[in-house]
């Protein structure tokens, strides 16, 4: 049985670690981490990713740009994307939804919400 792969894109190491531990506590998923959008772009062709969690504000390319790329690329457009945003960035969240984000999480996040969403998209 091949386990599913989740790609976490966030420039904060602490945030990635938090997400990883949150995800690991529910199931044994294969987790891939990227600290920048560029790193994510490089990882994508090499990994078969089933779900992406991405931050919005990152140094090189932002989460929305990454999302836009994914949605316009036939290889990746079906991958569910959950954006992670800070409180108060409603505009960016709305933009993310318009671009085709499946869901969003507000930082500081509630682990239960993250787990719930992951189970929703990965079953």
């Amino acid at each position: 049985m091949s386990s599913k792969t989740i790609l976490i894109v966030d420039d904060s190491r602490a945030m990635r670690a938090m997400l990883v531990s949150t995800i690991e506590s529910i199931n044994s998923y294969n987790i891939v981490e990227a600290s920048t959008g560029f790193e994510a772009l490089r990882l994508l062709p090499r990994e078969k990713v089933d779900l992406i969690l991405t931050d919005i504000n990152m140094p090189d390319i932002n989460g929305l740009e990454l999302l836009s790329y994914l949605r316009n690329n036939p290889n990746y457009q079906e991958i569910p994307v959950i954006i992670i945003s800070s409180e108060g960035s409603q505009k960016d969240i709305d933009k993310g939804k318009q671009l085709g984000a499946n869901d969003y999480i507000i930082k500081p996040f509630d682990p239960a919400r993250v787990q719930e969403l992951i189970q929703l998209y990965l079953g």
């Binding site: 560029f38 929305l64 316009n72 409603q90 505009k91 318009q98 671009l99």
Partner: protein, 700 residues
């Protein structure tokens, strides 16, 4: 002045101004809401509200009140959008404005009350709501300032708020905006693009980098870089020349502002020249250009002029002044007493001169006292403004139509009393809208005008000010009140309870006629709290109600609490002061004139039966000497209620400065404070309103 006190003073100044701005914001918002309903918006009003929020933000930021700063910043943002016509003023936006204002008032008040609790959660909730107002139209409109650039939907759609801001900023500054398309090998793209980015950053700003699909997805990746620079396209092309790089000039400053003007233009057809002017405004306003600061300076000058005849004084200073006046009054009493003593001792000539001087001093002191008291007086109208906001807000929330009628706005009251009466009045009004005024449909079916009326009137009545809150709603269902009183075990038999007595039940703790707790009135504050608050400032509240026709709350308040004339009385060897404003008359009576009705002592006074209260029993004193056959009855009254207080002796009148006994004594009913009599004696001042309600409650 030490650093501490100057900092303290600065904060006080900040508070005074912040409260002023918050008040003004509130009343202007109420006006704005009315305009929004009629669909006729006054841009000046909107601009004024914006400036208020802007000033508050600046002030709070400077004084380090982060919460106020944050909220006002967001509020300012919302108002800016409204002001620039980016979003429309609808009910939802208006509700957010009101909510922000309400929270702002809480935050400002929290500083003055040294409230340590954080309001971060409320603020962020409020900010989310503010942003929600901005969000949807932004996608719609935000694209428009950039239309002339010919950017793809894809590029625009992936810009974060900040990137959009940077783009707009660069357009405003007249920079050239470029789209630079690059294509790289997927295995090395990150190095390559970083190189290009670094080069670009040395002569401009990289606004965004959008990855896009390349011809061969598996091996290549493309990027569209949004870049702004002062460089011309020829120069730029040379600087970043490469096989896989192509540069396109998207727009220049001139075309940018022109097209952004057109895209934000108002729906009404305007000539291009007018549009240009409008665009210029909208572009210039956010930056600190002279065009904006000049009118602001003029405004300030105007307001400074109108303010110049007013001095803002800390109420604490007035209290100090009042205390000094009080002490002078006492010093005068001592001198007058000396004059009498001297005359009795035979120094008649000097005594008469001293007596005359003392009389002159007394008159001037009276003037001084009156003058200081008048400074503390503010018109009740200030309270009306606050009430009008609340009423409009609540009635809107409740879907009820309410017309407001205010009378006697010029009636003056001590500032502290106005402050203290504000909360109880608000509660009475909330109740009136919530439980009194019926819905428009109900009213129509009852044959009433769809619009309910709330009438608030104030007038002076002797040494008191009466404030009445009247509604034409459903009135209080007295039968239901009685039934509830029976159910709660307050009475055994309702048949003996008069309607007037039944209404009094409403003021008992935990008594409410509504089973359903509404968001408006059901805040855990009952009418008992309203009554306690009013009693605490020596006031009294009465209700008149008529089922189906409405209710009237009559609040009777003393004009001031600072200096009062009292009647000094004694009972069982103890001395007390009774505020003269509550004393109606004094009687000398014999024991035999007391009758007992239903185990209550009463006397027949002219046409009425006057209930009696024995002061010694009230306070539970043991009497040393037997009571004399004759005694005095001081008839006191507040509002419509009367009570005879039995005392041993009357010792005369005197002006006193009443001092609070502090929180510890709050639970002692019947005492409102203490006062110095000037001869080293300190006496307790009786709280007449409290005694009357206690007497009624206990059936004494």
């Amino acid at each position: 002045m030490t650093e501490l006190t100057s900092a303290h003073k600065a904060i006080k100044d900040f508070l005074a101004e912040a409260e002023e701005i918050a008040d003004q914001l509130g009343s202007e918002m109420a006006d704005l809401a009315d305009m929004a309903e009629s669909g006729d918006l006054d841009p000046d009003l909107l601009n004024s509200i914006f400036r208020g929020a802007h000033s508050l933000k600046g002030l709070a930021g400077m004084f380090g009140f982060g919460e106020i700063s944050e909220l006002s910043h967001n509020l300012e943002n919302l108002l800016d959008w409204l002001r620039l016509g980016k979003i429309n003023l609808n009910h939802a936006v208006m509700a957010v404005l009101f909510e922000s204002h309400e929270l702002m008032t809480v935050l400002v008040r929290a500083i003055s009350e040294m409230g340590g609790a954080s309001h971060a959660a409320e603020i962020s909730a409020c900010v989310v709501k503010i942003n929600a107002c901005l969000a949807p139209p932004e996608q719609h409109h935000n694209a428009s300032p950039f239309v002339h650039l010919g950017l793809s939907e894809q590029t625009l759609g992936a810009l974060t708020e900040y990137e959009e801001h940077r783009l707009l900023e660069n357009i405003t500054k007249g920079k050239n905006i470029y789209s630079i398309h690059t294509s790289f090998d997927l295995s090395t793209f990150d190095v390559d693009i970083s190189q290009i980015s670094d080069t670009l950053k040395t002569f401009g700003e990289v606004i965004s980098t959008l990855p896009s699909m390349a011809g061969i997805i598996e091996t290549n990746i493309d990027f569209d870089i949004l870049f702004s620079s002062n460089k011309e396209i020829d120069e730029l092309s040379v600087l970043i020349a490469g096989d896989s790089v192509s540069v396109a000039l998207l727009g220049t400053a001139a075309t940018a502002s022109a097209s952004s003007l057109i895209s934000v233009a108002s729906p009404s057809p305007v000539s291009s020249q007018e549009t240009a002017v409008k665009i210029a405004e909208s572009v210039i306003v956010p930056s600190n250009s002279p065009a904006q600061s000049m009118p602001a300076a003029v405004d300030d000058a105007q307001s400074a002029k109108s303010m110049s005849r007013t001095v803002r004084v800390d109420i604490g200073k007035l209290d100090d002044l009042m205390n000094i006046v009080g002490e002078l009054v006492l010093a005068h009493s001592a001198i007058a007493a000396l004059a009498i003593q001297m005359r009795n001792e035979g120094f008649s000539r000097t005594a008469i001169d001293l007596g005359k001087s003392a009389k002159g001093l007394e008159r001037k002191l009276a003037d001084l006292q009156k003058g200081v008291m008048e400074i503390r007086m503010i018109p009740v109208g200030q309270l009306y403004e606050k009430m009008s906001r609340i009423i409009r807000k609540i009635s809107r929330e409740q879907g009820k139509k309410v017309e407001l009628k205010f009378y006697g706005a010029d009636t003056e009251l001590d500032k502290l009393i106005v402050e203290d009466i504000s909360d109880p009045m608000m509660h009475i009004i909330r109740n009136a809208i919530d439980h009194g005024i019926e819905s428009p449909e109900q009213r129509a079916s009852l044959g009433k005008d769809e619009k309910g009326v709330i009438k608030i009137s104030s007038f002076s009545k002797g040494n008191h000010v009466v404030i009445e809150v009247e509604d034409d709603g459903s009135g209080i269902d007295i039968e239901r009140v009685k039934a509830k009183a029976l159910q709660k075990g307050l009475v055994q038999d309702v048949s003996s309870v008069s309607d007037k007595e039944a209404i009094e039940f409403i003021f008992l703790p935990g008594f409410s006629t509504t089973e359903k707790v509404s968001e408006v009135s059901g805040r855990g504050v009952g009418m008992d709290v309203v009554k306690n608050n009013i009693t605490a400032i020596s006031g009294m509240v009465d209700i008149e109600t008529s089922k189906g026709h409405g209710s009237r709350f009559i609040i009777t308040l003393p004009i001031t609490l600072a200096i009062i004339k009292v009647l000094i009385i004694s009972c069982a060897g103890r001395t007390y002061a009774l505020p003269i404003t509550s004393v109606l008359e004094t009687l000398l009576l014999a024991e035999k004139s007391i009758n007992t009705v239903e185990r209550k002592e009463v006397i027949q006074l002219r046409e009425t039966t006057l209930p009696l209260l024995r002061l010694d029993r009230f306070f539970g004193f043991e009497r040393q000497a037997p009571r004399s056959e004759e005694f005095y009855v001081v008839v006191v009254g507040v509002a419509e209620k009367r009570l005879g207080i039995i005392v041993d002796d009357l010792q005369g009148q005197q002006d006193i400065v009443i001092k609070s006994l502090g929180e510890a004594f709050k639970r002692f009913k019947g005492i409102s404070g203490a006062a110095d009599l000037g001869d080293q004696r300190t006496i307790l001042v009786l709280d007449v309103a409290g005694m009357i309600s206690e007497a009624i409650r206990s059936g004494n």
